[in-house]
């Protein structure tokens, strides 16, 4: 019996929608689990990534902790995959990129009338936000990109089955969506 492929997953500046899409492969999960076992992932609650074959990273990079986690994944995963629009382009969080970070924080935590005026959070445990939101490939080398918000279950399935079979993943146009 061959050893199972180790897969780690994480969501950085994402919404876990890509993870939901992975679960959306439905009963194919059973087939997948015959071939892979999960390392660090919201599905296992393992907190740190060990040596893995595949790292699936959802979400872009918006704070210092995201950078730390992404580098841990890059260091441990033979194949690193940017999963979803945010990981590939920065996505919706990157829509703040043309604004000043200070102005954003001021607007949300001080000016906006519908929220408690607690001031800009400054707890030392909070990771520092980055000046701009970045797609993964601007921080580490990325081996594969899966666009889509989220990439469909069929796209994720095609990617994983191609990779597990030792093929270079390839997609028909209907599996390549940016929305």
């Amino acid at each position: 019996m061959s050893q199972k492929i180790r897969v780690a997953t994480t969501s950085l500046a994402g919404c876990f929608g890509c993870h939901m899409s992975l679960l959306d492969i439905d009963e194919r999960l059973f087939t997948l689990l015959e071939h892979v076992e999960f390392d660090r992932s919201p599905l296992t609650d393992i907190k740190h990534c060990g040596p893995c074959d595949i790292g699936l990273v959802e979400g872009g990079i918006c704070n210092a902790e995201n950078v730390h986690v992404l580098r841990e994944f890059r260091k441990n995963c033979k194949i690193l995959v940017a999963v979803g629009a945010c990981a590939v382009t920065g996505g919706l969080p990157a829509q703040r990129n043309h604004l000043s970070l200070a102005d954003c924080l001021q607007e949300v935590y001080v000016t906006e009338v519908s929220l408690e005026h607690g001031g800009i959070p400054n707890d030392p445990e909070l990771p520092l936000p980055l000046d701009k939101v970045h797609p993964l490939h601007e921080v580490v080398k990325v081996d594969y990109f899966l666009p889509g918000c989220p990439p469909s279950a069929d796209t994720l399935w095609k990617f994983l089955t191609d990779l597990l079979a030792g093929r270079t993943p390839s997609f028909a146009p209907e599996l390549i969506r940016y929305d």
Binding site: A85, Q95, E138, I176, D179
Partner: protein, 253 residues
């Protein structure tokens, strides 16, 4: 008898005055293109339709929308080399603007997006510019979201050639090139653009948007949800029977 040229090793007949792209589309052969529109004078600016042509002048890369079809021309289009160049052009367009497809109401009907999908573009690859381009929502009927402008000049051409209004123009050079409107205030509300203008229907991306109709068509029923742009473009093109310029033949196949 019509003359022919070779496209990827097969004969394509053409009528005098046709470009390589026009003749190819009329013959049911797709060459990826972006700023070309069958109803307007070719512009040749996006270069997505670039082909490798050999016509006795040696190998030359040329935009097929402005390359006149000539007898004996040998054209390479559907090759990995040309498609890789096209992918790079599309990637640069994505990286240069703010193309957030998930929140764009043009998504599913967008030529740039459909082209990327059909060419197999998985990422913009380059460092994103994230430019600061405020929207112009001044007009009661239309919204201008400059973040998505790819400078194809289709609205410019439509407004001048069809609407006779010249509402739109490009200004600036190089990286500073941008879309402007013809009003002293710089606001769309102060132009004579109106519902029914060709210019407001021709935008291939999500810059010129009609207000109050966004997201009306559900996902799955949008233009490029069912069939890739390579199939749609052939449906839209005047077919071989229309070589003489018979607009009534358009849409028949």
């Amino acid at each position: 008898m019509t003359d022919t040229f070779q496209l990827d090793g097969e004969d394509v007949s053409f009528a005098p005055g046709q470009s390589v792209l026009q003749a190819a589309l009329a013959a049911g052969r797709y060459i990826p293109h972006l700023c070309y529109h069958p109803e307007f004078k070719p512009h040749g600016s996006c270069k997505v339709c670039t082909v490798k042509a050999n016509g006795g002048f040696g190998n030359r890369y040329a935009a097929s929308c402005t390359l006149p079809a000539q007898a004996g021309l040998n054209v390479e289009s559907e090759t990995e080399e040309m498609n890789e160049l096209r992918r790079t052009l599309v990637q640069m367009l994505f990286a240069e603007g703010n193309h957030f497809c998930p929140s764009c109401e043009k998504s599913g009907n967008c030529t740039l997006q459909a082209l990327g999908s059909d060419l197999g573009v998985m990422t913009a690859g380059f460092r994103h510019f994230y430019p600061d381009r405020p929207v112009d929502a001044s007009h009661p009927e239309f919204l201008l979201d400059f973040n998505r402008c790819i400078l194809c000049e289709l609205c410019v051409r439509a407004s001048c050639e069809v609407d006779n209004k010249c509402v739109f123009a490009l200004s600036g050079r190089g990286l500073d090139k941008h879309l402007i409107v013809n009003a002293a205030s710089g606001k769309l509300a102060d132009t004579d653009v109106a519902l029914g203008d060709k210019a407001v229907d021709v935008c291939p991306v999500g810059v010129i948007l009609k207000k109050r109709v966004g997201f009306a068509v559900p996902i799955g029923q949008r233009r490029y949800d069912q069939r890739p742009i390579s199939a749609q473009a052939l449906d839209d093109a005047p077919r071989q029977a229309a070589v003489g310029g018979c607009a009534a033949c358009e849409g028949t196949s």
